[in-house]
């Protein structure tokens, strides 16, 4: 009886730990996967780690992360230590009350902290703007910047703010343990308070300070939510970068960087624990025998003979630190910059380096999750992008709201190379605001081994025969668009009856259990692993799924006979962009044939550049030594006759948009 319960409890503990650590273990294992699938094991390799260190966006964000963590830890440690000492000079009742107050920010939901800090900064910036305008008006000696934006500085302040409580929490117990008379004793022996602090308080509470700093550092490295709300548009920490990388699909590169992040946080925690254990042991040991080797060493180091060496070391460390900060911030401020916001995995990052080397302009490359997310980011006023790459219908909407700046095409000679098919499109009829970036179609993707014969109708999405294995795209426009096409209506219809008819088709299928679920990014894993049979998605993404499909999966792509949606993503410049000239240079560079070839090869979305489209098959053969499959190329860059059957999304009037929203909510999860 007793024995069996013990076995039971062991199994239970085992399961608990398995539940805790299996996902992380999986992540680590797959970071060493040779293929780029997150579902299928293709052998051991370190390629993803190599790729990681060559990925400039990741390295840049790593740099940002380390810098913000180090700076915030240093400042928060100093501030928190003095705050804790201040707390201990208060009466017990006030001190206890304040310590409770100190706990609240740590218990508080990160999102609340993040949002409130963001609000606070934005409110402050508004006030500052008014003040600076007035101040610049009344005098001309000093020109204050009027427009402040969220960025590294605000994120640093936020990190300092959330780190201070952890430092106080760690320093406070050491102060409580400390004999209060120690400070009196030091002062009695001739110290001023400051001398007593350095000579007595600091050595006594040092273990608390160090562990407080370590925890603050860990928290800082680890933080995503608060950084997300306070970093603004031009700064990314590693966690934010990882998040943006997972928007499209979880590449093994993300696994690799997550593994490294996990290991470094683990290392910090282990370091902290080992230190504490060793300290406990040392105090025990000290009572039994004389000083240990390390204590002797530290005593010797603290003797006056070593003082100059120590001071020199400290000064050198301080210099290195200051120099590093100065170098970084100096480099960031003196160089011309262009702020670009695009989508995740949507550029060959070598292009950024090439552009920087050629022009000396630093590219601040950020990513947004979706057109809608980009829109709300722009509306919130926290962003200071120059160049954005929205899709067609979003461009119309931004234009309607007067948020875009006209381009100076005299500075963009490469615009000449854009195929006439992709000029003067409905979203920008006179082509005054945009330079196309990519284009493509959205068709039907299916696993030939899971369906009967070849599919060529959107009807397959609602077919009861495939109940439980159809993936519905989690986006009202695309989901209703396919249904409208199937019913023979336009994707841009504003006729409520037609839209309701299309919705009825979807909700009916939903009721019959046809859909496995509503997905966006999960579509990759589900289709690659053979867990779903049918989905509607973008051609470029189909090609990357094809590369990763598991054994026994045979993915196909088709533009159904009813036609499909085709889209263009185009580069635009925001009104009042701070770096207009740099933005023109960037757009011209990206519109070049070479850049288009590189991007096409990297992201597998078709280029709008005539030369690039013509030259890609030959370029591919030269690059990889094998012929480009013409069928696949046609999927990527749909030929004119296919494109004719496709319809581009136009911006819908507000009441139709509202109807879409309403219906989509009605469908439920």
């Amino acid at each position: 009886m007793k024995r069996s319960s013990r076995v039971g409890s062991r199994i239970f503990i085992g399961l608990t730990f398995l539940f805790l650590y299996l996902p992380i273990l999986l992540l680590i294992v797959f970071s060493f996967n040779a293929g780029d699938s997150s579902a299928v094991w293709r052998g051991f390799s370190l390629d993803w780690y190599k790729a990681l260190f060559q990925n400039r966006l990741i390295m840049e964000s790593l740099y940002t992360t380390l810098l913000v963590s180090l700076l915030s830890t240093a400042i928060a440690t100093a501030a928190g230590t003095f705050a804790a000492i201040g707390l201990y000079s208060l009466s017990k009742r006030r001190r206890d009350a304040l310590l409770v107050v100190n706990d609240i920010p740590m218990m508080n939901a990160d999102i609340v902290t993040g949002v409130s800090l963001c609000l606070f900064f934005v409110a402050f910036f508004q006030g500052w703007g008014a003040f600076a305008q007035w101040f610049n008006g009344v005098q001309s000696a000093v020109e204050l910047p009027v427009r402040l934006t969220l960025g590294f500085g605000t994120m640093l302040l936020a990190h300092i703010a959330f780190n201070i409580p952890y430092v106080i929490l760690n320093v406070a117990p050491k102060l409580r343990q400390m004999d209060k008379n120690l400070v009196d004793a030091a002062q009695d022996l001739g110290c001023t308070w400051m001398q007593a602090f350095w000579k007595v308080i600091l050595p006594e509470i040092k273990p608390g300070i160090v562990s407080g700093a370590l925890i603050a550092f860990t928290m800082s490295i680890d933080d995503f939510v608060i950084s997300y709300f306070t970093a603004g548009s031009s700064t990314s920490t590693l966690a934010m970068r990882i998040y943006s990388m997972t928007k499209k699909r979880i590449t093994p590169e993300v696994n690799a960087v997550s593994t490294l992040l996990f290991l470094s946080v683990l290392a910090l925690l282990v370091l902290n624990n080992v230190r504490e254990i060793r300290q406990e042991r040392r105090t025990d040991r000290q009572e039994l025998r004389g000083p240990s080797f390390f204590e002797n060493l530290s005593m010797r180091l603290s003797s006056p003979a070593w003082k100059w060496a120590r001071r020199g070391g400290l000064a050198a460390a301080a210099c290195v630190f200051v120099a590093a900060v100065a170098l970084l911030t100096g480099a960031a401020w003196s160089q011309p910059v262009v702020n670009v916001c695009s989508w995740g995995e949507y550029i060959d990052e070598d292009l950024i380096t090439q552009f920087e080397d050629a022009t000396g302009i630093r590219v601040n490359y950020q990513t947004a999750e979706s057109n809608e997310a980009l829109y709300s980011l722009l509306k919130s006023g926290g962003a200071d992008y120059d160049v954005i790459v929205p899709s067609d219908y979003m461009i119309s909407q931004l234009l309607e709201e007067g948020m875009l700046e006209e381009l100076d095409y005299s500075q963009i000679p490469n615009f000449e190379k854009i195929d006439p098919r992709f000029r003067n499109l409905p979203y920008d009829p006179e082509n005054k605001y945009t330079v196309p970036y990519t284009w493509g179609t959205m068709g039907l993707i299916y696993n030939a081994n899971m369906v009967d014969g070849e599919l060529d109708s959107w009807g397959a999405l609602y077919d009861g025969r495939y109940a439980g294995s159809v993936l519905l795209i989690n986006n009202s426009r695309d989901a209703l668009g396919a249904a409208l096409l199937h019913l023979g209506h336009s994707v841009n219809t504003t006729d409520e009856a037609e839209i309701r008819e299309a919705f009825a088709l979807i909700s009916d299928a939903s009721r019959r259990g046809v859909f496995q679920g509503k997905v966006m990014d999960q579509v990759f894993q589900k289709m690659e692993g053979g867990n779903a049979a049918i989905a509607s998605y973008y051609a470029g993404d189909y090609l990357s799924m094809l590369d990763n499909q598991a054994d026994g999966v045979d993915l196909r792509y088709v533009i159904p006979e009813e036609g499909a949606n085709w889209f263009v993503d185009a580069m635009c410049v925001l009104k009042d962009a701070p770096h207009y000239g740099e933005a023109m240079q960037w757009i011209n560079f990206i519109a070049s044939t070479e850049a288009n070839l590189a991007n096409m090869d990297y992201i597998w979305y078709a280029s709008p550049n005539t030369e690039a489209l013509e030259r890609y098959p030959a370029w591919y053969e030269a690059e990889y030594g094998e012929e480009l499959d013409p069928e696949l190329y046609e999927i990527m860059a749909a030929p004119a006759e296919v494109l004719e059957r496709c319809e581009m999304y136009l911006v819908l009037p507000p009441e139709t948009r509202a109807l879409y929203n309403e219906l989509w909510i009605e469908l439920g999860v």
Partner: protein
């Protein structure tokens, strides 16, 4: 007589409504061993902290060598302190603890900060360690020392700075009885050897009597009596002092004439003079000044209610007309026996009535009183508490 070094003039210390020190007037002579004696909360530690510079009096002055030093911070006073529980620096070894004060640069006569040469520091520390019998311990971490050794480090650390005055805040409180006796002798020796003024705070009256040149008895933030140990013991000013110092039977009496006091309606010869005729007084009779005689020959007659053997004497509690006396005698009288007592005129001490009258001196709860004394020993918590939380009350 040696010259005056420190004077407290009308010092008041109060936190809001709570008065911790009530118009303290006190002077301390050079090279004197002065003890502030009193129960916890009497203000003795507060007085010491005012002298040390850790507290500033709410009103009144503190003078050092004739100069007012109210606003001089602790590190600028020629005073060093041995703290309760020593307050040694745990991260430093014995040598560095003692050298701590010497390593702080001090301003010379021109106001320049001067550091002592390492050789001199070493020499002075080693000398001091020898004085306190800790030679050979200099490399030890302080946490590896016994309580008595830590105590010596604390003393050495303070004295190595050659202060004019050493303040000792219940320095022996944490030591056991034997060690405490040894350290008392040692402290006295050090004080005489180094010719330094010691201001010593304790609640232990035996310690105070054994070591001091002058004892200051305090209670309720007031000085009750200042005097030599003999004065304090033999001529207590009021019932509080009589009770706090040694054992006392304190009985209501009436002064019938100079040299004649009436207790329990019987007249006794005494040496006290200068009272009004028929003035009510407190009469102190020390337990050892009472002779037990046959009942018939006794000036007073009573019944023995308890006897405790104490080694040197029997502590005998005797009931006289409902008032219980403690009598210390070498004669054994069994419980229940009827006895008489005789008191010589110099065994009787007459005191004016005070607000302490009637609060002390009856031994009907003798055993409990002993326990109270024991319980009172670790008192620092209460005193610190009154300083810290006093702000709030």
């Amino acid at each position: 007589m040696s010259k005056e070094l420190i004077r407290l003039r009308d010092c008041v210390m109060s936190y809001g409504d709570e008065v911790v020190l009530d118009h303290i007037n006190l002077y301390i002579n050079d090279k004197e061993f002065l003890t502030l004696l009193g129960p916890s909360g009497c203000g003795k530690t507060t007085t010491l902290r005012i002298i040390g510079g850790f507290l500033s009096p709410t009103a009144g002055d503190i003078l050092f060598d004739g100069a007012r030093i109210n606003d001089v911070p602790p590190h600028k006073r020629a005073v060093n302190t041995v703290f309760q529980r020593y307050a040694l620096f745990p991260h430093l070894n014995v040598f560095e603890n003692v050298a701590f004060g010497l390593r702080i640069p001090k301003a010379d006569r021109d106001g320049r900060k001067v550091k002592l040469p390492e050789r001199e520091i070493h020499q002075r520390v080693m000398e001091m360690l020898e004085t306190v019998n800790l030679k050979g311990f200099e490399k030890r971490p302080v946490s590896a020392l016994s309580g008595g050794q830590q105590q010596r480090v604390a003393i050495a650390r303070a004295l190595v700075n050659r202060p004019k005055v050493l303040l000792l805040d219940e320095p022996l409180g944490a030591l056991d009885m034997r060690l405490r006796k040894d350290m008392q002798i040692e402290l006295k020796r050090i004080q005489q050897e180094m010719e330094i003024t010691f201001i010593y705070v304790t609640h232990d009256q035996e310690e105070a009597l054994a070591m001091s040149d002058t004892v200051v008895v305090m209670d309720g933030g007031r000085i009750q009596q200042i005097g030599t140990p003999e004065d304090i013991y033999n001529e207590p000013k009021n019932a509080f002092v009589a009770d706090f110092i040694g054992e006392s039977n304190i009985i209501d009496g009436i002064m019938r004439a100079d040299g004649v006091v009436e207790i329990f309606n019987r007249r006794f010869q005494c040496l006290d003079k200068g009272f009004e005729q028929d003035e009510p007084v407190d009469v102190v009779i020390r337990p050892e000044d009472v002779d037990i005689v046959d009942e018939a020959a006794g000036q007073l007659k009573g019944t023995v209610t308890s006897v405790t053997f104490k080694g040197m004497q029997y502590d005998t509690i005797v009931d006289f007309y409902g008032f219980k006396w403690l009598i210390q005698t070498t004669d054994y009288c069994p419980t229940g026996s009827r006895i008489g007592i005789k008191i010589d005129p110099d065994g009787i001490h007459v005191m004016k009535k005070s607000h302490y009258s009637g609060m002390f001196g009856d031994y009907s709860s003798y055993s409990e009183e002993y326990e109270e004394l024991d319980a009172a020993e670790p008192e620092d918590g209460e005193e610190n508490g009154s300083q810290e939380d006093g702000h709030e009350k």
